[in-house]
Symmetry: D3
Subunit: 237 residues, 6 copies
């Protein structure tokens, strides 16, 4: 199998780490090239650290987390609560996708817990199509592919009926390590909302594992519309 380029687009720094970094680690181990994108700089995700300082901290954390997975990190440079479906945003997404030239994209689905997550998923879908169209002009050249898309699990696994489960048992340490890089979030969520993100991730992973007969798993649905997926060559028995 030829190495592929995988682009995981999460709304905020840490979303990808919580929801699908185990799968990304497995893809890296299998020889694929993985890029982790965070659409916003995460500048609202804290109680008292000012936005600008926070953004810097979180960009650094995102870079370290991606490194733990063996992936590249990129940011789209939007502000938290700054994702809106308009021409500029579409072009930002489109150019970032063109730069990464993914063979497959992973992003948020339509039932996640934040409206911003949902919008990131919608704009990613649109931009990944635009990226393949020469007449849409951005800094980077157009992509020669309109790639398949997988939607990652929702936070807490609520209202999500997976079509795919991935066994992440043997990369759980990498996932734990990647998430541990987001210290600003781990501390804030604990102090402000009494939420232990590591334990949440661990428990949801175990729950998805129980459902699919392994120790730990991550769950996905595939985006199934015309032109975005291909029949298997055989039934995966």
């Amino acid at each position: 199998m030829a190495a592929k380029r995988v682009l995981a687009i999460g709304a905020h720094p840490d979303d990808v780490e919580i929801l699908c970094s185990g799968t990304l680690a497995k893809l890296v181990k299998a020889g694929h090239k993985v890029t982790v994108a965070h659409v916003t700089n995460g500048d609202v995700g804290h109680y008292f650290i000012p936005a600008k300082e926070l953004a810097e901290i979180r960009e650094r954390e995102a870079a370290e987390a991606a490194e733990a997975i063996g992936a590249d990190a990129i940011g789209f440079g939007l502000h938290d609560f700054g994702v809106y479906d308009d021409w500029d945003t579409l072009h930002k997404f489109t150019d970032a996708i063109r730069k990464a030239k993914p063979d497959v994209i992973i992003t948020h689905g339509p039932t996640d817990y934040l409206f911003e997550h949902i919008k990131v998923g919608q704009i990613t879908v649109a931009a990944s199509y635009a990226a393949g169209c020469p007449n849409i002009k951005t800094e980077n050249d157009f992509h020669d592919n309109i790639p398949p898309i997988f939607f990652m699990d929702t936070v807490g696994g609520i209202d999500f009926k997976p079509t795919h489960y991935v066994d992440i048992t043997d990369v759980m340490d990498i996932k734990r390590m990647a998430l541990s890089k987001h210290q600003s979030q781990l501390k804030w969520m604990k102090e402000r909302w009494d939420t232990d993100l590591q334990e949440l991730m661990e428990s949801v992973g175990r729950s998805r594992g129980i459902q699919s007969g392994v120790k730990y798993a991550e769950a996905f649905t595939q985006y199934q519309v015309y032109g975005r997926f291909k029949a298997d060559s055989i039934l995966p028995i």
Copy 2:
């Protein structure tokens, strides 16, 4: 990959051929052992041929169709409109499953067009569990597996949201051949209901192909309950 035993359970002779024989042919080509089961003997499926004679014809057609695929054919010996959820029927299904000892089962799902199809699916689910339980006594010894189940497409592809598509382009001739063995049905459906089963099969196959980016495809959903499926080892990118 080790060769596996695949059991496809259709309600009537010809259901499996219409709905998933392309996939079965691919599994045979890949070295797996496939058994095609028809629960009833099809003795009501004609306008004027008497039941007993019709049953004989259809058993013969089923055998020839299975042979075209490279599969074995078995019948559970029930009458058309004779499938009910009771102790005897459960035991018949259980024993037949124990004889085939499948690693995976394919059967009808909950939205197909005949109540008898739906019941075959339900009883198959129950019996495939019973087959693995030593305290349920039937002629054949208990099975050491409670296998995963896939539900095949509905007739006409109505009200069915696939989770899996299989590319059957290169085995369409085998599928056409297998279906052609059911001459009693092809003629009856044409004369009585003005339905060309070959063309129906061809059109639905093409339609599923369009949806999944290939020439011809068959569609399935996986039965996802506790204990019946396992996480993939990696995301199928």
Copy 3:
């Protein structure tokens, strides 16, 4: 609030313990009278213990588990794989319900992992209506109520969108104790299927807890059809 009678009807001994015994323990603590029913005697739930002996073991385990919760245990006396929708079974359910005279019933819902669970839920719904009709004659006198019904979570929490979560954090020890009484199942599931039922229960409970903002929770849906539920007197803010 007046003490109420709660009847939890699980298909097999241990289903209620796994899926809702925390909630039952809370109801007992709140002064309600709880009865735990197992429809079958569980005589197929083991690898090598013969059916009759197994049934005795499991009745005993069921009694001990109910005692741990502070509930009564009753069995409907059917065999495993012996639940079918017929006149006799309806009357057995009806009479058992009349004996317990519940103000509310908890049972399996339509998406659980065993067809037998689903059928227990369906027949319970029918029988709980029949129990209130004098012209249906059984040993016990008719019930003066057609009670509301809650469906408990599915095994593994798959394909279940809860409408109600109950915080069971402070009764988890009771739930663990109740489940521990089903030694025949804990050992069999571990040895035969490598499943640790206690850990499964613990993990699903934690996962439902994460979803609903507490340490451990159990999930339910309410059966919402005409005549079976009543508006709240105020929005539960």
Copy 4:
């Protein structure tokens, strides 16, 4: 338009009157021949009238109600809580359908409030297919049609997403009259359960009317599986 034969199959005497007798009255007025069937004799539908006496009362009431609509009444002769999916019941339904030879059938759908309603719908679907098959032998000769089916609204309109609404404003008096014939039910429901069936019917009819822009309406879904419906000749604008 040629006159057609319409068969409405309700589980119990009064179900059809409550749920779709306005539509039936309109069909009668348009020149169609309508038959109202009640599967059971309603012998459990009362608090203290003995079953046999009650069945006689209800058969009489059913006849009078059908007459008010301008329809025929037939009973399948089963007991309340006596509807099970087995060979005998299928044949009873099949023979009754063959006698009525309907061009269209109306019955209960899969989300109604009584399991017996749901089963009546399921067996009707199966039997209406069997009725067209010569090799299924019953007293009446086979039917030359496998008719389209509409499912009527649920009691209270709960969990029912209509695909069709019918304006019954100008036949509401007929509907009120038809329902008024079921005095045994009107009184029992009022005295035992404090339910005014006439007002319930009136309110649900008004609610369905509000939804569809008329004074009073009844709601339906069409049973959409292969072979059971036909494309419109033009979009109903």
Copy 5:
């Protein structure tokens, strides 16, 4: 129980009154503080009254309606058809929520009949999260809560499967009074569209009452995503 702050956000003046003012009246009676918000000034909701004059009339009507309930009224000051998902609108919503500091929010859900209703619901969800984040700067200080949200019924009760019903029988007079304050709408809807809003409200309320076993009810669903709801302490039997 401590008094709580409840904020009901409707798209236009009169939406809240039609869809949930009975529940609000009950909350007021129970000692809670209720604020009724209308996002737009309603300046398009008439046939011939000019926008500016109409907005003044409707603000007055909104104030009187809220007073009838015992609630405060606030307007977000947008124009009809002026609700779009952008930065300014988010900040307007956020600041209004911060001013009201609600413990619980009621707003429109995703299946209501106007796109503007749906967008108000989406932006409310986003803004209620933003309101709790110090790094989002608006005139009012940040809120210390990311409150639970309930979605009110749709107009006409179409395509809405409630999870909660509230008995409003004893406050129907207050609801009638509150709605009666919207004279501009009652007259316009009657003259222009032949719709009697009072009767519509009355009929839907009665229909929801029939479904839930009371005289009049209002229906809701709870917004169930991570972090927005909490398990009950006991099953509401």
Copy 6:
């Protein structure tokens, strides 16, 4: 039946031709006046033709295709990937609808394969309401109707559960002709993506025909919210 005005609004030139031009041709034949609208000028729909030149080609193709159906063609003048839910776009849609003054609208539904299709559907819904409101000022005078809306099939027929099928067998030649006018698309899709749009259209049409008992059909759902549809006068048997 009086002639009606039908407005079909597709996102791009060719969408309407692929998805519902058979139905439109039938409406034209029945004497109705049909307008085909394309929201964008299609300037991104090619591999190497520059945007401006492409837009001119596609406007011409759209005009010819509409002519083949017997319809008028109009463009809203937006760019591809230029459809966003904002004030200006709403007004453009509103004014176009006012100009066409439709009795019924056909547009894209919420599950189609491009986000731009979905948004066109959403804005059409909003604008068709705004068009009837005098206080929304655009170039054309307000419309006296808030028309019913039908959603056309998705591309490939994926994730679409039709409520209406229209038999287009006798106008298939017109549909083929109309689509053939979009030569820029037929060639581009073939050369760039190896997709034969004519064959795709033909196959989906045949598949919808099989489902609905005719040779070729098109599928629709009706937009069912308050105020947008009316009960039938009789059940369409």
